[in-house]
Amino acid sequence: MIEEGKALFLQIAEQIEDQILDRSLEEEAKAPSTNELAAFYRINPATAAKGVAMLTDKGVLYKRRGIGMFIATGAREALLTERRAVFADRYIDPLLAEARALGLGADDLAALLRERAAAASTTIEGNPA
């Protein structure tokens, strides 16, 4: 869950973002408190607080005085835009690098992608058309 070599507070922020993206945390729902995060990830509360502060600065979370932190309306949309902007860098470039090493061209990759996507959608629907 926690990996090495990357600032812990960034990882905590990303995990909260992931939960907003997959809707396990809905907009206007209460975000986990720093103490809850600290206990769950077994990290220092100050580190958890730093991750939460980062998301507050970004406008993903906001504070209701005396109650706690909440997910801002529009947070999911903003995160989608942000993640899509870095998607190619994070996932496509390493994919291309590995494909090149194996002698696979862009067309081969495209064909593979379509094949796998078709297989995945059949599995999910459970009802091949």
Partner: protein, 301 residues
């Protein structure tokens, strides 16, 4: 200043060896600190002097702004859990906790009872007859339940199994979150405590080698793996902490955080990047300091 501990030019000399060599250190407080280093590096000596169980040879030591020696107001606010605490022969854990409850004004008996149950500590046996792990548990319980403003844990886990150590870490985090205070944790098990500590102090050979926030240390070094020639070309001009080879493959650990562009460049040139854990980083830094010291000593000879 708000620092709870201030040490300037502290030296502790034993006959021929300096256990602490001109150490200066300021600890702000209100955080969990990791005091790390090899055996004999000077960790216990430093903690003993800060708690008035040992004396400095020279330098100034201030805890809560005052020298701790025979200073009851200061000492009542500090708890030092020693690695091998001695108790009277006929003392049972109950006696030890009773004494601690009289001494520490923030002592919480309810918390102590909970910890006794957590660690399944036999209360009627004499401490002398307890196992090594149970003896450590007595220290851990006193350290946690005393809720002192500064608590030193000197390798508190000796003999504690993995389950008991996890109980210690979990209870420490829980209680610290509820009652923030200054915790100074000395440990060899760096991987186990790296996520708990906010600030790292590394002592090596009587000197402070690292004194930094854990987060800023975390991406301080990186390991690059790949074809030896390509790795060497990339690592040229960088500060290399460690290097090893397997056939034509070389793995080099370098100091210095990489920017996103530099990372992309490394990957584009067919090299692999691997993160360096806090434990690996500290091991490499300590080894490097050791190598530099022995090189200097040889030059002198």
């Amino acid at each position: 200043m708000t620092a709870v501990i201030e040490v300037h030019n502290l030296t502790k000399r034993y006959k021929t060896k300096n256990a602490l060599d001109n150490v200066s250190l300021s600890i702000e407080g209100g955080a969990i600190y990791g005091l790390l280093g090899r055996n004999g590096a000077g960790k216990t000596t430093l903690m003993s002097i800060l708690t008035a169980q040992n004396f400095e040879s020279s330098g100034t030591v201030k805890v809560f702004g005052e020298h701790p020696y025979e200073n009851a107001p200061v000492l009542s606010r500090i708890c030092f859990v020693r690695e091998s605490q001695k108790y009277p022969d006929d003392a049972t854990p109950r006696h030890a906790f009773k004494a601690a409850s009289l001494f520490f004004k923030n002592w919480n008996q309810e918390f102590a009872e909970q910890l006794i149950a957590d660690f399944q500590l036999p209360m009627k046996q004499t401490i002398k007859k307890l196992s090594r792990g149970q003896l450590s548990a007595v220290g851990v319980i006193i350290g946690l339940a005393s809720r002192a403003e500064i608590t030193f844990f000197d390798e508190p886990y000796l003999g504690l199994d993995a389950v008991a150590r996890q109980i210690f870490y979990d209870r420490l985090l829980d209680d610290y979150a509820e009652f923030p205070r200054t915790i100074i944790l000395s440990s060899h098990l760096i991987d186990e405590v790296s996520n708990l500590i906010e600030h790292v102090v590394v002592i090596d050979d009587g000197q402070i080698l690292v004194n930094e926030d854990t987060d800023s240390l975390r991406d301080r070094a990186v390991t690059v793996v790949g074809d030896a020639a390509a790795v060497d070309a990339w690592a040229g001009g960088r500060e290399v902490l460690h290097s090893e080879s397997l056939g034509r493959v070389r793995s080099v650990t370098v100091l210095g955080a990489l920017s996103a562009d530099e990372r992309a460049e490394v990957t584009a040139s067919g090299l692999d990047l691997a993160p360096v854990s806090l434990q690996q980083l500290i091991v490499r830094l300590t080894q490097k300091a050791g190598a530099t010291n022995s090189a200097e000593n040889q030059e002198v000879r």
